[in-house]
């Protein structure tokens, strides 16, 4: 083996990384007869030993605490995301049920209940007028009529609700602005989120 070949193996020799006994012996026997390679090998060992004596720097005592705190925070954030998906899903289901169920409450067959109410003579009761200005012939008519009007209003509300919300927001203005419309009652889902945030 020549010096160039041996030199590149000297670090591996110093680190005990040569498993092949024959190769190791070849390197050793070359060094027995070569001062330059012996010196090079001594240098490798010397630097290796000096580096291993270095005193490690110490990180701040608070590093471990910061690591733990960050992990906890990230874990909470990830589970909060999961919960908000669950809430959104639940809210969607509830909204669907309400919209379908609301229709059932004012089903035409419910009118039968009002038909059985005692008829009151129109002369003794001053009946209010309906929304279109017509009078009601009887108390029963009044109740049914009012029911119909309420049902219409509910339908209208459902159709107009999204636009209504937008208008409220626009009227509400920016966060810092004062506005009467800020006093409008919020939706239930927002309250739930606030409660969840407070609990954290």
């Amino acid at each position: 083996m020549n010096c160039a070949e041996v030199r590149t193996l000297l670090s591996a020799l110093a680190d005990g990384e040569i498993a092949d006994d024959r190769l190791r012996e070849k390197v050793q026997s070359h060094m027995d007869n070569c001062e330059a390679c012996r010196q090079e090998y001594a240098l490798q060992l010397d630097i290796k030993s000096k580096l291993s004596e270095l005193e490690p720097e110490e990180a701040s005592v608070f590093l471990a605490t910061r690591v733990t705190a960050e992990i906890k925070q990230l874990r909470r954030r990830r589970s909060a995301w999961r919960w908000s998906y669950a809430y959104a899903g639940a809210a969607a289901v509830i909204a669907l049920v309400v919209m379908l169920g609301g229709g059932l409450l004012v089903h035409p067959s419910a009118q039968g209940v009002y038909k059985s109410l005692p008829d009151v003579a129109p002369a003794t009761v001053a009946l209010p007028r309906s929304s279109n200005g017509d009078g009601y012939g009887s108390f029963t008519e009044l109740v049914v009529g009012r029911h119909e009007e309420a049902r219409e209003l509910l339908k209208v509300r459902e159709e107009w609700a999204p636009e209504f919300e937008q208008i409220v927001q626009r009227l509400g203005g920016e966060e810092d602005d004062e506005s009467l419309y800020k006093e409008l009652p919020k939706e239930n889902t927002e309250d739930e989120e606030e409660l969840a945030a407070e609990e954290e």
Binding site: V6, R7, E53, E55, A59, S60, L63, A64, V67
Partner: protein, 207 residues
């Protein structure tokens, strides 16, 4: 023609270590995966300074090294499910540190040519015996020389001579062939020696 050590000729330290008992981190990793936070806190305790020193040698800035170490440890926690062999936690963690540094430094180009002050000045008791004083001076000089090496050379010497990782582990961490590990270590030590001679002659000492 330079002879590069092939994989077959390399000492198989991994095979040798199979006969030895599992390192403590294997048990701690298993416990962490089962939800034991205290186990991960112990892992942090065991490895934070080692990662810190590894990163510090690269970035040469204490605060930055601390921030990066924190990021590496947090990343490790959330990637534990990817570690298939708990016994290999040490080199896996250094892998994360190496990759994280590489991505960070590529994006932010933080490496400067100036050497930052990152080595704490150790208090030297005037009553310290001469021998110990000399040792401390040598350590200072070695550190100062180490931070002047090129980043890959610094990194490889930290992994090999300070952390005691095998060539195979280093090859996996740095994603280079075994031959590259071998020659890089050889030339890095040579270079360090040259810088050290300069340091010592400045200090008026013969190395």
């Amino acid at each position: 023609m330079a002879l590069v050590l092939s994989a077959e000729l390399m000492a198989d330290r991994d095979a040798a270590s199979a006969a030895t008992p599992l390192p403590i981190e294997a048990e701690l990793v298993a416990r962490t995966k089962r939800g034991d936070d205290a186990a991960f806190a112990e892992l942090v305790e065991l490895f934070q300074n080692r990662i810190f020193n590894f990163v510090l040698a690269r970035v040469r800035h204490r605060q930055l090294a601390e921030d990066v170490t924190q990021e590496v440890l947090v990343k490790a926690y959330f990637s534990l499910n990817k570690l298939r062999e708990p016994a290999k936690f040490k080199s896996w963690l250094f892998s994360i540190a190496h990759n994280h540094l590489r991505d960070l430094l590529r994006k932010r180009k933080l490496e400067t040519t100036d050497v930052e002050e990152c080595h704490t000045e150790h208090y030297v008791d005037p009553d310290t015996p001469e021998k110990e004083l000399k040792r401390q001076q040598t350590r200072e000089a070695v550190w100062n020389a180490l931070v002047q090496l090129k980043p890959e050379q610094r990194e490889i010497l930290v992994l090999c001579d300070i952390e005691g990782l095998s060539y195979r582990e280093i090859a996996d961490i740095m994603r280079v062939p075994l031959g590259t590990v071998q020659s890089r270590i050889f030339y890095a030590r040579r270079k360090l020696r040259v810088i050290l001679s300069g340091e010592f002659s400045y200090m008026g000492e013969e190395l």
